[in-house]
């Protein structure tokens, strides 16, 4: 009999399912209430993780960027500046929330929440470990891609509602960019789904060989990395924000907490893109010795590091080059990749 802690780390799914079954049987609550309580538990855990992850990832990016630029990075607040983000958050929360007088107030206020909500929803299908997932939907991959696309509504709305030409251009760019890069991303993911024979995240992880799909799908992995990097609006694809051209793009008019929400969403999206890539190509939570959660986080943050590394190395693309890259390079490559994968799956 293994200890509860051990099971919580290594076999979360069965443990939690056991608890849930016990609750159904023993508590005497209506069945939906028990389910709701358990789902609420997942939501709280996800929200907590989202906050902590953003704190860490922002610090991580600043530290990595600093080291690449021969700087020291945050080193004042807390050990190694770890609490710097907390201090910044505090500052942003007490700042004045400015709404431009000519803005569409309701939309302007709502936009950051739409973006953050879309991000938050993605945690539903993300398998952190064996069974450590809020809902392992049988269309998990499709859900991830579809819901991930919602955030563009928030960005476009924010850009539009600001009533600022720079914001509007940023929002429009973002819409065009996310729509364009969704296509190669989906095609790259499809080839993985073909290999795994399932759209359920958990199945895809289990179906992978121990080295992950990255060796079977190197092109797919690269395509996905580039496309998802573009989808989350980060350098060198940070055109919606492109501070030297569009001042700050769609966030130009935002301040205080609403700005922080966009920021939080951006960094969470960064993690989510990495986590999704980990799940699909790097074998997800699987790995020897360490608990599945640890493996999942290690792999995800490794991908995050690569994305940060890319961001701090390259200049920004031009908007038409961006479109060309998507439609003329990535899309044909992705189609070819899918075709080859399909043929190989059929033949072998």
């Amino acid at each position: 009999m293994q200890s509860t802690l051990h099971r919580l780390l290594y076999d979360t799914g069965t443990l939690v399912d056991g608890w849930r079954a016990a609750a159904h049987a023993g508590w005497g609550w209506p069945s939906f209430a028990v389910d709701a309580l358990f789902q609420l538990g997942w939501a709280v855990a996800a929200a907590l993780f989202l906050a902590l992850n953003a704190l860490f990832i922002i610090w991580f990016e600043r530290k990595v960027a600093a080291r690449m630029q021969l700087r020291r990075g945050p080193n004042r607040v807390g050990p190694f500046g770890l609490l710097q983000t907390l201090a910044d958050t505090g500052k942003l929360l007490i700042k004045e929330d400015i709404i431009p007088s000519a803005a569409d107030r309701a939309v302007f206020r709502a936009a950051p929440f739409v973006v953050l909500a879309a991000t938050f929803l993605l945690f539903v299908v993300l398998p952190f470990g064996r069974g450590l997932v809020a809902a392992d939907l049988n269309v998990g991959v499709v859900y991830f891609l579809a819901v991930g696309g919602i955030s563009v509504v928030g960005i476009l709305a924010g850009g539009w509602a600001s009533n600022n030409k720079y914001s509007l251009m940023g929002g429009m760019r973002s819409a065009a960019q996310i729509v364009s890069y969704e296509v190669p991303a989906v095609l790259a993911v499809l080839s993985v789904a073909l290999l795994a024979g399932s759209l359920r995240m958990g199945d895809i992880v289990r179906a992978q060989p121990s080295y992950g799909y990255i060796l079977l799908q190197p092109v797919g992995f690269l395509l996905f990395l580039v496309a998802s990097n573009a989808e989350i609006n980060r350098g060198p694809f940070d055109l919606p924000e492109s501070d030297s051209e569009l001042v700050s793009g769609f966030v130009t008019e935002y301040s205080a907490m609403r700005f922080a929400f966009f920021f939080l969403a951006e960094y969470t999206n960064l993690f989510l893109a990495a986590a999704f890539a980990t799940t699909l190509f790097l074998g997800g939570w699987r790995g020897p010795l360490l608990p599945p959660v640890a493996w999942f986080l290690i792999k995800s943050y490794l991908v995050v590091f690569v994305l940060i590394w890319i961001r701090w190395t390259y200049p920004r693309l031009r908007v038409d080059h961006l479109m060309e890259l998507s439609w003329k390079v990535l899309l044909p490559l992705a189609l070819l990749n899918l075709l080859v994968t399909a043929v190989l799956v059929k033949v072998l």
């Binding site: 990595v64 600093a66 080291r67 690449m68 630029q69 021969l70 700087r71 020291r72 080193n75 590394w309 890319i310 701090w312 190395t313 390259y314």
Partner: protein, 168 residues
């Protein structure tokens, strides 16, 4: 190198990919180099002797007083009239070669060093004081003659060196 005709076709693609790879390598290898920044308030760079901070009129250690003779040369050379000297007067009302006040306006000073260079008696010098921000504008006008700036203390050695370097 200047490439008048950029490579075409697959070569261009390979060339581009190679350039992207090289860029990644440069930033990656930079992670293992020493940071070049100095964590400022705790550590400070050593300022060169010729550094031009705010103007001071140090006390001559031998004389026990400043060396200014109120000759007005610095007032005349100052490009934007940041120095104003009032001559001292003796008991008989006659001017004596001493400044009664030497008002130096830090707010308009552009740290050009012309006053120091023109001074025939090495009475004034630009110090290494550079953290000069203040919330109180009245503190920007300093009477250097009343200040009695001493060359001793922690910075004494630096000052001695600076003065030796400055004087012929």
């Amino acid at each position: 190198m200047y490439a008048p005709t950029p490579p075409r076709g697959i070569l261009l693609v390979l060339d581009g990919l190679a350039s992207l790879g090289k860029g990644l390598w440069i930033t990656f290898s930079a992670m293992f180099r020493k940071p070049i920044t100095v964590p400022y308030p705790e550590k400070r760079v050593v300022l060169p002797l010729r550094f031009r901070g705010r103007l001071v009129m140090p006390l001559d250690p031998e004389k026990g007083d400043n060396r200014c003779t109120a000759c007005m040369r610095c007032v005349k050379i100052c490009p934007n009239h940041s120095i104003d000297i009032e001559k001292a007067r003796g008991a008989d009302g006659e001017p004596v070669p001493k400044p009664a006040s030497y008002r130096y306006n830090l707010g308009t000073c552009i740290f050009c060093n012309l006053c120091v260079e023109t001074c025939p008696f090495f009475a004034i010098v630009m110090s290494d004081e550079h953290e000069l921000a203040t919330a109180d504008p009245s503190r920007l006008v300093i009477d250097l003659a009343a200040e009695k700036y001493s060359l001793g203390g922690k910075k004494g050695a630096w000052w001695q060196k600076k003065f030796r370097g400055e004087e012929p």
